[in-house]
């Protein structure tokens, strides 16, 4: 809530104080693109013949008068009975948790690897080592990151059983990884990668007021 200078929301009911909306992400992305030079931006849920997310942007202007751009993005309000389908998936505890290297570096490496293979293996251990590997018939390429550091683990028992040098790995679609990396413009305050061996990789990013989680299955 501190992220916004004004925040007002009233959900469906007191117990279910949330609103679930479905919209075309391209519309929202386009609307927000015009906000690059904005003085202020306001997002409202409105009803203009049909439910809309109205994004109202006040632009910086050289002249004395302000310029206002308004985008009405059609949305679909999702009925409460479908909310359970949209809950965050329950994920098994991760085998390894490690801090990510500088995302920009990681992105340029993965971009180059993308030309060689459709799949990439991420492996990491509790000693701060992270490897990005691709294996094809013709070539294997591995990039090693060392001394990344590991966040303190949630469950004490698991950490004691595990050999810190042992790698947990997961093989994922490289394009999905690139999609995630391409979207990162700013370096987060904290970026953690959690690996569930051969099952899932979970990226947990924390910016000042915003947290982003990204799950990619194997």
């Amino acid at each position: 809530e501190n992220f916004f200078s004004e925040f007002q929301m009233e959900g469906v009911s007191a117990e279910n104080n949330a609103i679930y909306l479905e919209l075309t992400s391209e519309n929202l992305s386009r609307a927000l693109k015009t906000a690059q030079n904005a003085r202020a931006l306001k997002v409202k849920l409105t009803n203009k013949h049909f439910p809309c997310l109205t994004v109202s942007i006040e632009l910086l202007s050289v002249s004395s008068s302000s310029r206002i751009v308004t985008h009405d993005i059609p949305v679909k309000v999702i009925p409460r009975k479908l909310w359970k389908d949209l809950q965050e998936p329950t994920v098994p505890d991760s085998d390894v948790s490690i801090y990510l290297p500088v995302l920009k570096t990681m992105k340029s490496i993965v971009e180059k690897m993308r030309n060689l293979s459709n799949h990439l293996i991420i492996e990491a251990n509790l000693s701060g080592d992270l490897n990005l590997k691709i294996e094809t018939e013709l070539v294997c390429v591995t990039t090693h990151f060392k001394d990344l550091g590991n966040p303190p683990l949630a469950s004490e028992d698991a950490s004691q059983d595990r050999d810190p040098e042992q790698m947990a790995e997961v093989r994922i679609d490289i394009r999905k990884l690139l999609q995630f990396l391409a979207g990162q413009q700013v370096n987060p305050t904290r970026a953690v990668c959690n690996i569930v061996s051969n099952k899932l990789v979970h990226f947990d990013l924390l910016h000042e007021d915003v947290s982003l989680q990204y799950f990619i299955p194997a």
């Binding site: 519309n27 386009r30 015009t34 049909f50 008068s65 751009v69 308004t70 059609p74």
Partner: protein
Amino acid sequence: MKCLVTGGNVKVLGKAVHSLSRIGEELYLEPLEDGLSLRTVNSSRSAYACFLFAPLFFQQYQPAAPGQEAPRCKILMKSFLAAFRSLAMVEKSVEKCCISLNGRSSRLVVQLHCRYGVRKTHNLSFQDCESLQAIFDPALCSHVLRAPARVLGEAVLPFPPALAEVTLGIGCGRRVILRSYQEEEADSSVRAMVTEMSIGEEDFQQLQAQEGAAITFCLKEFRGLLSFAESANLSLSIHFDAPGRPAIFAVKDSLLDGHFVLATMSESDLHSPEPHRLVPPLQAHSTPHLDDFANDDIDSYMIAMETTVDSEGSRAGPSIPLSPGLRPPCSPGPDSEDNDAEPSTEPGTPPPKKFRSLFFGSILSPAHSPPGPSPVLAEDSEGEG
């Protein structure tokens, strides 16, 4: 005919051709006393564009060989554009451009003199034709607004490049509003985003219009002139009237002027369950309803215009009544429940553009054949429409 363009003006000419190519498939080239005119019209006759380059624009301007009549050519737009395809290349390496036509030749020659002695010659085939004329007079329009092209360029920035139509109007507090126009989809589950841009009066050099005045026109066609105006750093003026009447977009400087005349949607064209939907976003307290411009009035409009001798009289050449390409106002009865009373288009025309076509009236005689859907003589024997 010989026209020699040098230096930076070559790029200006190239940019103008690019703008025209956004409108029509054929370029009408005609050297006049006032200068070289390049004109085009779109296939549905709902948009007309012309640029006039004054003699001083050229290093050498010779409209016609002595004793001969000035030629009038119709060239395929693609062919002419090919000479100016890459504006970056034109800017960097072309020193001179010579457009010439000698009496005996059946080819229009566009020769580019480039750096390092390279010469590129385009021999374009053309057809003799009559002059393409549209009758319009900015002075007759009741509303004008004028702004530097940059302001208008920034105004259309939030709109998706694919957007076809946009509504321009004056809203509360004399703010100029641009709003994306979406036709009502039959499949209402897929709705499009609506974008609206509001600009204060102060950004305009001239704003002579009442609150509530609004027109809807094709944004894609407008962008053609806008990009030219932006690159030449000119101001663009928009003259408009009641919805349904063509809107005139103009740029001008000492060496050239350009006009794009675009049809606007008339109130009966606009699909809306509430007939005044056009105006609510732009609603002012004053009455929003502009002329009631029903289908049938188009005939009387045409007649009225035919008898008007307008300021275009100075332009040389007879103007030819081209096929108006009008959709017959006689839709199958008033029983259509939605406002979609537009009958299907004539075969061969592009998919329904809900615009009234501009007509190209005749200034020859008021007693000319009454306007109507029957195709009148086209500008050359091929006939169109």
